[in-house]
Structures are given as C-alpha cells and as structure tokens.
C-alpha cells in the first residue's frame, strides 16, 4: 500500500424512469455516453487508462464484455483494458474499490470505475424447458431428431421470463423483504415519506444551485434527473397506496426507488498521477468493506452494510461521529430508517459481532444532496453516482473532511467505504 488512490471527479448521465427517455438506449450506449462525458470533462481524449471496471446487474448475454466494448466506443484510447464486475446494487462502489485497490498497490496509476443499468432494455429469456428444447434440437444430427424435442413443448413454456429482483433463496422480492424489515423495526409511514420528500427537495436544490454542472452530462436531450419531483411533499406522498407489505403496508411507490435507467463513472488515480497530469483532486479513498448477512436464515436482507460499517470503523479507529457527511443509499426510505436504527441498537450490533452500537448521526449530515429516491437507482450505477458526489461535497467542506458511504445489495450484502477530502 504505497499509493493514495484519489477521486479526481466523475460523470454520469441524468437518471430516468424505466421505459422513459432512454427506452431505446442500451447499457452499452449509456455507459459509453457516461465515459465520453468523463473524458471530455478531464481532457482524456485518446489517453490510455490503466483499467476501466464497470458492470450491470441486468445484462444481455451478448454484453459479456460490456465495459471493454463501451471503452472501444468511447473517446478513450483503444489500448485501455476493461473488465466487467458485478456486485448487485453495490456494483458502482465495488468497481471503485477494485480500481482504488489496484492504484494503491501500484498496479495501475489511473482508472475509471462505473456502472450502468437499464430496466427498459432488460434481457428477456426463454423458459428453461423451451431453452433446453432449443439446445437439444440444435445439437441433433438428423431432421427427425431435430423435430422431436419440440413435441414436448407446452404453451406455458412459450411465455418469456422477464428479469426480476427476486431473491433466489427466499422467493421474495427486495421490496417484500424490506417490508418485513420495516415492520419488525417499527418504521412508520410518516418517517418514510419524510425521508422521500427530503430526498427530492435536497436533490432539486442541488440541481438548482448548479452543483451537478460538473458531475452530470446530458444524454438524449435529458439534462436533469428525470425522476426528480421538486414539488413533491409529505402530503402528496401520504396519498399513495402501499405496494409492499400488504394493504396495511407502509411502503409506497413514493418511498421506494423507481426502476431506472442510467450510467455513472468515477475517475480515480494515484495522487502522483493527478499532480503530474494537473488534474483536480477531490478526496482520498481511505478504506472499504463488504459484508453479508444470512437472509435465508431470517436476517434482514438489506442490513448487510451495518456489519460492514462496524468492522470498517473499528479497523480505522473511527467512530460514526467522526464523519462530516454520510451517504446511505436509499433503496427504500425504510432502508435508511432501519440502517440508522440498527446503528444505534446495542444488541443488534453486538449480535453482528461488533463491540457495541455504531451510534447515531446528526440528520443534517445525511444524504445532503438527496439520494436514490429522488435521483433514481439504475442498480449498478448508483455507487458511481454517490462516490463523486460525496467527494465533491467533502472537498467543498475542506481538507480532512470525512465521508461514509453505505450501500445495501442483493444477497444480503452491503458495501461501505470511507472518503476523506484532500
């Protein structure tokens, strides 16, 4: 560990609702656009990066080399290597950790992390029986053998399988899982709606002030996050019907993230490279951790980041009060509320093997420019949205300012990281 990995900046395209303005755009198109905006912002045209790492949660089989192909379509040097990584909703942060680690180890000097997802252009697959039939038929040698498998096809096999965010081991969707957590932690509808309304208001304010002028590049005529509702209110949100947790549920379309399309990227380098190339430096990537909980065994699916945060803070000798800013990914408003409650819960934290409660934070340091409820959540892109946003906010607050990122991910996992302003 001889080098400091620093965030130079980032670029994303505005996020938009599924089947909205980007319905014709592929993951490849959106990731390329996000890369090209980053290249333009930092004058990287024709330059070779050490590596580009990005990924998508919903991915077509033909996109097996999505990131490398996007690099080839971008203004970067075609000599830039790339790989695809996937860590569910934590992908954009996991790729950042991957690139930062390579920089820290001196394996590369500069790299780009990112993520992209399209729920509009999601892959639709064949039912397993039909797929097996086709595979069998294509490998058959004679015409009769080729036809025979089709006799076993039934009408129900013909309906395609749309992708879902259902946990394979529990059969529950993410929202259904979170509804269980919401109820068991006693999170109220009012708390959730307040978080959602605040997210929209804070994001709208940030856009209005020009905060995103050097973080976002318009795409396909969309210049601002299209899901954002600046005029929403707790009153308006209170009118929505529950979508998870049954008729008595508290989780609505307003306090849950919308299915979204978008892409985001982060430019990361060693401090030496940044100085040599006269690039601005926002924040150092100090540490990161990934944790998982046994959700098939009954643990709260989206509270994986709690253990990750506790262990990372202990390793760094930091307490939660040492952070000037905290970003908790708003998968659902109640994810934020339960995460905060879990941090403050002595027994829960000890149950995770921590020494005690993580503690509480001043609400004014949390998601200060809004988060996924307002911005949208193209799964793999979100981490790469948060990292540059937080890095810029920390830099504005001055050298040494510390920020924490906490992201929940499918499979009961959590990805967390610490940034510090340079």
């Amino acid at each position: 560990m001889s080098h400091n990995a620093v965030v130079i900046g980032g670029n994303r395209i505005p996020f938009a609702k599924s089947n909205g303005p980007y319905s014709e755009a592929t993951n490849h198109d959106m990731l390329t656009a996000a890369l090209d905006g980053l290249v333009a912002r930092f004058g990287l045209s024709g330059m070779r990066m050490g590596e580009v790492a990005a990924g998508a949660v919903l991915k077509h089989p033909s996109d097996f080399n999505l990131t490398r192909e996007a690099v080839l379509s971008s203004a970067l040097s075609a000599d830039t290597p790339a790989c695809d990584l996937q860590q569910a909703c934590g992908t954009g942060l996991e790729t950042t950790i991957y690139i930062a680690n390579k920089i820290a180890l001196g394996q590369i000097e500069v790299g780009i992390s990112g993520g992209v997802d399209s729920t509009s252009d999601a892959p639709i697959t064949l039912s397993d029986p039909l797929r097996r039939t086709l595979l069998k038929a294509s490998s058959a040698r004679s015409f009769p053998d080729r036809v025979k498998p089709f006799t076993k096809v039934r009408p129900r096999h013909l309906s395609p399988k749309a992708p879902s965010v259902t946990e394979p081991r529990t059969g529950l969707s993410m929202g259904e899982h979170q509804a269980l957590t919401t109820e068991s932690w006693g999170i109220t509808r009012e708390e959730q709606d307040a978080i959602a309304a605040a997210s929209h208001h804070k994001l709208a304010q940030a856009w209005e002030s020009g905060f995103f002028d050097d973080l976002v590049t318009p795409y396909l005529g969309v210049a601002r996050d299209a899901i954002l509702r600046p005029d929403t209110s707790v009153e308006k949100l209170a009118k929505l019907k529950p979508v998870f947790g049954g008729p008595q549920g508290t989780m609505t379309a307003g306090n849950s993230t919308a299915l979204s399309d978008g892409a985001a990227t982060v430019l990361i380098a060693s401090e030496e490279w940044a100085a040599e190339h006269r690039q601005p430096v926002l924040a150092r990537i100090i540490d990161a951790e990934v944790a998982a909980v046994d959700h098939p065994g009954g643990a709260d699916l989206l509270l994986g980041p709690v253990a990750a945060t506790g262990r990372m803070l202990a390793r760094q000798g930091l307490s939660i009060g040492d952070f000037d800013l905290v970003e908790i990914h708003e998968a659902f408003a109640s994810t934020v509320a339960t995460t905060l409650k879990a941090w403050a819960d002595e027994d829960y934290c000890r149950g995770l093997g921590l020494d005690g409660a993580i503690g509480t934070i001043d609400p004014s340091v949390l998601n200060v420019t809004g988060s996924s409820l307002a911005a949208g959540h193209p799964f793999a892109a979100t981490g790469a949205r948060i990292v540059p946003t937080l890095a810029k906010l920390l830099q504005e607050r001055g050298k040494g300012s510390r920020g924490l990122i906490s992201m929940c991910a499918a499979g009961g996992q959590g990805v967390v990281a610490i940034l510090e302003a340079v």
Binding site: D36, A40, R41, S45, D213, D214, A223
Partner: protein
Amino acid sequence: MSALEKAFTSAPGRAISRKAGLKDPPRLRRGRSWPAGAIVLGTVGHGSLVADTLTLLGRTVESPVVDAGDDAPGYGSKIGALVVDATELRTIDQLETLRALLRPAVRGIEGAGRIVIVAREDVDGWEAASVARALDGINRTVAKELRGGATSTLLWTTGDTVSSDLMSTLGFVLQGRSAFVDGQAWHVGHAGDVHREFTAAPLAGRTVIVTGAARGIGAAIARTIARDGADVIAVDIPPAGEALAAVANEVGGVAVQLDITKPDAGRVLAEVVAQRGKGLHGVVHNAGITRDKMLVNTDAARWASVLEVNLAAQLRINDVLLDPETDGGLDDGGRLIGIASTSGLAGNKGQTNYAASKAGVAGLVQAMAPDLSARDITVNAVAPGFIETEMTGKIPFVQREIFRRSNSLTQGGRPVDVAETIAYLLDPASQAVTGQVVRVCGQNLVGA
C-alpha cells in the same frame, strides 16, 4: 426541406433557375491554400512593405501588366492575386497608377483569387486624406465586380508598420482561410520589432477558451484552432453538455459546462485554467442568443436576456480574467475575441436587442484595445454575415435563399470561415492587429 426547396434544388429546378439568371454560386477556396496562379506585386510609388512581407511569407512574385494604351491588356494566364503596395499613394494622379494595375488584374484573376491593396491611413494633407478614403470606395467596388469567388481587401497600415507586423494578415488574406471575407478594410499597426513566424500551427501549446462551443460556429472555432495547435477549453451551458463533450473529445480538449451569465463564471473559468497550469492565451466570446421580436413587442425580459448573454457576461468574465491578481487569468500578449454581427452593424428588423448587443461588442473591442496595448493583449471582433448553421437552417427557404445571395459571393458562408478569421486574430503573429471588427459576410449588401 420544404417541397419548394426540394423543387428548387432538384436537377430540373436548377436548370430553370439558371435560365432565369440565378447562377450556381462560385466555389470558394478554403484552408491554408495559396492562390493557384501567380501572385503579382504592384506598387504605387516606391514602398517596399508589401514586397518584404511577401518575402517573409515565402512567396515569389511576378511583375504586373500595366494598362497603358487603348487596348485593354491582359495576363497570359490567370493570375492568383494582385497585391498593391499603395503605402506611398498621396495624390489623385497616383490613383491612375492604381487603376492601370487593377484593370488587367480584375480581368485576369482566377476563381477565388485575391486583390489586396495595402495603404497608409496616417497621411497628412487634404488631398492625401481624400485619396486614402477613395481607396475604400475602390476596394468595395472592385469586390462587387469580381466574379468566381475572388475577393478584394484593403489593409490600412501606419508609418511604423513593418513586414513582420503585416505578415500574418497578408498571409490570411491571400490564403483560402479568408474565403468569405470580401470588400473589407481593417488596420494593421506596429507591435514591436520581434521575430514572428508564419506557421501551420501558430497556437501550439497555447490554451484558448471558446464559449458556446457545443455547436455551429463555436464548434467550428474549436476544431479550427485545435487544427492550429491550440489546447481548447470548450464552454457551453449545461443542457448542451452532450454535444459539448463530443466537440471537446473530437479536438482533444476539455469541456466545461457553465452558464456564462452566472456571477462567478469568470472565476470558474480561471480555476480551470489555473488547474491546468499552462496559462491562457485567448478567450473567444462566441456564446450568444437571439430573442427576436419587433421592438413594439420586445419586453424587458427579452431585452435583458440577450444583452446579458451577448454582452454583459463577457464584460464580467473579462474583468476577472484581466485582473493581474487572478490565478488562471489572461496572459500578457493574450487575445480577446468578440463576436459582433452584421445585424449589429447595419441594424436588422426584429432584432433591436440583438443589434444592441452586437454593436455593443464592436464598441467594446474598440474601447478595450488601446487600454490593453501596454500588456500586448489584442482585442478584436469578428462580425459574421449569413452563415450556414443549424440556426439559420430554420429560416424559411425563400427568405434563406435571398439572404444567401445578398452578398458579393452569392452564397452563405460556412462556420469554418468565421473560425478561420478568429484563428488568424488569435495567432501570436497578429500582434499588430487590435481594436478591429472584421466582417465575415461575403460583402453582404447590408452593413457599414
């Protein structure tokens, strides 16, 4: 394209319009190309400024054919250009020498050839002053009579102008870069006896900010100055970011999404420059908007927005970038370029606000130039006429065709024609040119 426009541009349509007298416009020569035919040097008196300048440009010259008798004499083959050194022209009688040089040349000049008259503006005496002004009338008229895309230009010099002062300007005028500059006159002064070079990459290693760079003329400016070696900082409003990024990546520059009317816009630009640490050679204030309405329908908001973007913003940005205390400000020896418009110089119905802002730009550069000469910063403006852009493509076809043909070159200019003129003014060798407004309009029928 409307049905009418399709009919007009179709083969039968063109045949009919040709019969009706609407000729296909001449093909202009563009880029760093010299005239194909000989460059002829004519002299009124014994001045050597032009001869020395052509030597610096590496051009060999031929002697002129002079009209002396009754038979109109001609050149054996087409000539590429006639450059007249009229720096010693003081009397009405000497104008006859000029006529005798021009007559054969106008007849024998090639398509997209050049007539250039170099004269003195600082002359003493009533006759000399009168004759100097006569040159202006001659230049404008010759420009209107020339055919085939050939142009005429009058360059004013002063007694202390030396060949290295004139070199970049004469080179620009003779080359294809000045394709759409016709019937114009501007001044070349003196800027110290320093060695200057005429090269294909005069902006190598120099950083230039271009506002409004996402499309049209701004994108052409970015491309042209990048060709000339500049490191481009391409600026446009955040909603234009996608096109801006494409331009920046194409020219290997940097994109800055910035609304130039923001109070801190100058500071933001200075920070970008300071971060890069390569200094700032020039700023091209290209960003502009129109909010056209007849004056009777022009409210305060329409008035203010145009003046704000087209004029007030560049004043504020200049203030920051010219402050010697600003880290990332304009270097001494730097360049400021404004974009005026023939609408501003001549007035245009429905554009009071726009004309105000664009005439204001012309006034601004004329006022700033002497004040900044001590720092060797030159301040100039370019005034485009009808240029073929996405914006002018939206003008209804018939009106557009009329605009196109309302100039001596009978066609619209291209964005690159404006860009080339700006690149010439940005050239370090153009140090002796300041406070000028150069029109790129094909000698539009309207305008001063």
